[in-house]
Point group: C2
């Protein structure tokens, strides 16, 4: 343990006792544990139970200029949890109370440590659900921090769309609420959206009020195959342009399908594949399926099968659910490096195709899965981190992908966030707007204690 913040840590110990830990293993578990970024632990980890705990801890850190990093589930992918200057990690996972579900207004208010699966489990008898589904069972607070989305975003939006209001502990320890529970407002600046995606650099979110949605009467799922990624993307574009209210439309490339066949004992055609889901009434889903079948026929879409039976749906989606582990199993000794990018959908086919070519040209192994209805896709590179040549190739592939997406008027990250891993692209992506972001950060957090050196350095 460093001696940087001994006085502050002493004060925290006095206030919090055993809830504060300086154990190295615990500190390392609370720092970055994914991909290749170094693990940079905080000086101490505090497990909090209430907003008052958070406010008290923040006040002590504020007085001593001690950095603060909020921790939810630890599933962020770009080093958001690292503490490059040490400081206090605030573990929010025990603030996991569902405070209020208001069925009349279709809203729920939860503490930041509630996971998305816990919320949906709680809602299971209400006919309502919370649709945002990043890969991990992340906390809602963490999902606010990275502006998370997932497979349902094409229909239900991202965290910026489903959050109504936040309670936030600001850098000086003051607790604010960003908005009321009204569905819309024109009263002042949109602090809710400013905090969403700010990756803990402006304050610590303690409570979140989210919108809920009614479970559809009918869910239909389907799968279909295409000669190549380009044709699959063209079919996605046509589907979006027809304003078909598709709930999910996921792309898996041939490498990914091959991996899934091997991993899950499937026998899917090893070509570009779309997995789709339709939500609606029975008649509405049937109508959507029929229209979708007509659309994909124009793009050589083949072997379209679909079903509304829950078990058969799960079977159809097995390839997608196991995609990550299946890809990892292609090369079990390698590390899996996950990245994402998002482009206007008209550029999607080109962006995916060029990326796949780049991976092949470098002789690397990597698969593509994507929330392609939003122009958002993921690349999982399988890299031997002990092989310097592979690491250099992998870094260059990720870098070229980020720049390719930005050059196509897209973004270097559609849902993972910037953290430490993508800071280098912010100047190119934002130009002069980056200085405005920095000015806001300085105004709200003049001591730069809130997750410093994230998003930019």
């Amino acid at each position: 343990m460093t001696a940087r913040f001994n006085v502050a840590i002493g004060e925290l110990q006095n206030r919090f006792g055993a809830a504060l830990s300086t154990n190295l293993t615990i500190r390392q578990q609370h720092a970055h544990t994914m991909t290749w970024l170094d693990n940079e632990p905080a000086d101490a980890v505090l497990t909090v139970a209430s907003k008052e705990d958070v406010a008290d801890a923040v006040k002590i850190c504020h007085a001593h200029g001690m950095p603060i990093i909020a921790f939810g589930m630890g599933s962020s992918l770009e080093g958001q949890l690292n503490a490059p200057h040490g400081g206090l990690c605030i573990d929010m996972s025990q603030m996991n109370a569902i405070l209020q579900v208001n069925g009349e207004d279709l809203t729920a208010t939860v503490q930041a440590g509630v996971t998305r699966e816990a919320l949906n489990q709680y809602l299971r008898d209400t006919g309502l659900f919370f649709p945002i589904d990043p890969g991990a069972n992340a906390t809602i607070g963490g999902m606010v921090a990275t502006r998370a989305s997932g497979t349902n975003a094409v229909r239900y939006g991202t965290m910026k769309d489903v959050v109504l209001s936040l309670e936030v502990v600001m850098p000086d320890g003051e607790i604010i609420r960003t908005a009321s529970r009204a569905k819309k407002s024109s009263a002042g600046y949109d602090l809710t959206r400013l905090i969403i995606g700010s990756e803990g650099t402006l304050g610590i979110v303690t409570e979140i009020t989210v919108k809920l949605f009614g479970l559809p009467e009918c869910i239909g799922s389907g799968i279909c195959h295409f000669p190549n990624v380009d044709m699959a993307c063209q079919a996605v574009m046509a589907t979006i342009q027809m304003c078909l209210p598709i709930a999910r439309i996921e792309l898996l490339d041939a490498t990914q399908i091959k991996a899934c066949n091997a991993y899950s004992g499937l026998s899917l055609k090893e070509s570009a594949t779309l997995l789709v889901e339709f939500h609606g009434t029975n008649a509405g889903v049937a109508e959507q399926v029929e229209l979708f079948g007509q659309i994909i026929a124009d793009f050589d879409g083949q072997n379209f099968v679909w079903d509304t039976d829950e078990n058969k749906r799960k079977q159809l989606w097995m390839a997608r659910h196991n995609a990550y582990h299946a890809s990892r199993a292609l090369r079990p000794t390698a590390s899996g490096l996950s990245t994402d990018a998002c482009v206007p959908i008209s550029r999607l086919a080109e962006c995916v195709t060029k990326t796949v070519e780049d991976i092949q040209t470098c002789g690397m192994l990597g698969s593509v899965v994507g929330h392609v209805g939003d122009g958002n896709f993921h690349v999982l590179l399988l890299v031997d981190l002990n092989d310097e040549r592979e690491v250099i190739h992998a870094k260059q592939i990720l870098s070229r992908l980020a720049e390719r997406a930005i050059d196509m008027d897209g973004t270097c990250t559609g849902e993972h966030g910037v953290g430490q891993g993508k800071r280098q692209y912010m100047a190119k992506e934002h130009g002069g707007a980056l200085a405005v972001m920095k000015a806001i950060k300085s105004a709200i957090d003049p001591k730069n204690i809130m997750n410093p050196d994230k998003i930019w350095q």
Copy 2:
């Protein structure tokens, strides 16, 4: 004309020649012209033709500490256009080019002076439309400023939901772009949403990229009547809870219907009324209509008629389209004072009912129309501004409504904005969050030249 900014005005005249006017009538036309707030004209009005014009003007004003107020169509309702400290009004209405429509991505990029009707006129042969429809034919730039919405918001969202990216001239004259054209991003702070609703206090929006939507195959419109406002609101709540994807659901109270009957020669039942619209396929609309009919039957909804024929739809909606002028005609010599509030939908019936009672108790004349699917409603008070007693009553009614909405965990304005008219409620509505908004303003506009004294004072 005041002598406050003679040097700056001289520089502007050198740069812009005849595009700059100091004529009193023109200056007054560009200040607040609605409701009872005093007209406070700027010192000069500049008609701009390009972002470079805006940037040059802003740089001159910045050098001299001269306030800047952007003007679109002049339809804002809360004094957003007034210049209490003088300054330069920048008239954006000639920046009315539609720069790009990208049908593949369902986006359009327009200059800030394009009106919503002009955009939809331009799109008429594309099968696409832009759904946000405030009462006035406002400019898209103005709609960004106030975070506008309208009757379609219940289905298509508000300006915060349909804007992808903004180009903004910042207070020092630098031109930034807030985001790419990607449908979603997790790369940094959401400057797009920060600017939306900031009422020109952070910068001047010059270009906007918006999402477009496909025109539905079928539009069905309907009307139905309820014994009272409470039952009508209950029916709205049930409709939203059933997740029926209704496109419009508008409330008119008995006073409003009475006014419409008189004004448009209609013979509608003079009770609380819902006007509704359904978008979808032919089968989908039929299904929605059937479900809606079942829902309203539980709340004594009567005389439900609907049609998909365009002319009959227009006939059904005539009452809503003429609502403002019909109300004004109830008392032609009075001024019409329009306000809005938004509450969680579970509180809507109570809020509307108490507001109507308040108006009646004061012996005033006023009607209620509302985008009730969002919990948002408008009150139009008819006031003789020369009658001091009436003016005091009206101010008290509006004030009690704002506080009632805030007390119900709602907002004092769902879509009109704050301007000068609702500054007094910001402390109550936002608490400590207001200081955060002010800190952002000071950081981005340290000279306080961008529409000063709006939202707060």
